[in-house]
């Protein structure tokens, strides 16, 4: 007898790089990050993300005019996030293109930022 078996469901996930700016943890799409480096003189800070403590690390990402470096304080690592933990930004909160959405780590929202929008 032939029995058709459904293929096991593959939980879709996205890789999120967690970084700290001051006391706030943000998430960025890990695929946007070329590498993590020491912040060079050309690295920039984004005031809307909060005050940096030291900003010695930088996320290097690709832009149309080459590479750019966003200063951060600490790298927490990459976490795989299931699609069902992702949330759109609430309509009443902000429409800033910098914050593209959120993901729920337990019940704590982590703001996801779009690196090209920091320029």
């Amino acid at each position: 007898m032939m029995v058709e078996v459904d293929p096991p469901e593959v939980e879709e996930r996205v890789q999120i790089l967690l970084v700290d700016v001051g006391s706030v943890t943000y998430g960025v799409d890990a695929s946007q990050v070329l590498r993590i480096d020491r912040a060079e003189a050309s690295a920039f800070a984004h005031p809307a993300l909060g005050h940096l403590r030291e900003g010695r690390r930088a996320l290097v990402f690709h832009t149309t005019s080459g590479e750019a470096q966003l200063k951060v304080d600490a790298i927490r690592g990459v976490v795989p996030v299931a699609f069902d933990r992702l949330r759109r930004m609430p309509a009443a909160a902000t429409r800033s293109p910098l914050a593209v959405g959120l993901y729920l780590s337990d019940d704590r929202p982590i703001v996801l930022i779009d690196l090209p929008q920091t320029l």
């Binding site: 706030v24 984004h46 809307a48 993300l49 909060g50 949330r87 930004m89 609430p90 309509a91 009443a92 909160a93 902000t94 429409r95 800033s96 910098l98 914050a99 959120l102 729920l104 337990d106 019940d107 704590r108 929202p109 982590i110 703001v111 930022i113």
Partner: protein
């Protein structure tokens, strides 16, 4: 035959009582925030929960304290003191958030403490003070419970939330 007093009275009696319509009342969710005692129509309030973690958002006005997660939902958190220009709330271990809604917009709002639900006769609601500050535009009115009671400022939550959303997203 001359009608009896009862028959005369019955002829002019209404078909049904209008007592309920003559004294309509509205239920308000009442809470303290800073020095204020505020009330909003209870149908706008979904639930109250203890303040949890608060994640700040980039590029939002000061009255949006950030977002919080609750039952798998992400809610923006509003500080009405900041919104009304009456100071700043301090979110601590005893702070409560209540979930308020208007249309499709749902938000958490900071409350220092919850007073409870109160039914108020519509006729007892006084109009917002004339010549008051800008916060008067968000008020349905004021309720003064007796000479010694503290006044309750009753807010037009639907209007307030619509305006807060506009201010939050037009940046």
């Amino acid at each position: 035959m001359e009608p009896t007093p009862l028959q005369r009275a019955l002829r002019s009696a209404p078909e049904r009582t209008h007592a309920g319509q003559a004294r309509p009342e509205q239920e308000f969710f009442c809470f303290r925030l800073g020095e204020l005692r505020l009330g909003i129509p209870s149908q706008s309030v979904l639930e109250v929960f203890r303040a949890g973690s608060l994640t700040p958002l980039p590029r939002t006005p000061a009255f949006v304290l950030g977002v919080t997660g609750h039952r798998g939902q992400v809610l923006p958190v509003l500080d009405l003191l900041r919104f009304l220009g009456k100071g700043e709330s301090k979110v601590g271990a005893r702070t409560r958030f209540f979930v308020g809604s208007s249309g499709s917009f749902v938000t958490a709002v900071v409350a220092d403490s919850v007073i409870g639900l109160r039914r108020i006769l519509t006729s007892d609601i006084l109009p917002p003070p004339l010549g008051g500050d800008a916060s008067a535009e968000h008020m349905l009115g004021v309720f003064q419970p007796g000479a010694r009671g503290e006044a309750l400022a009753l807010l037009d939550f639907g209007r307030l939330l619509q305006l807060a959303r506009k201010r939050a997203v037009v940046r």
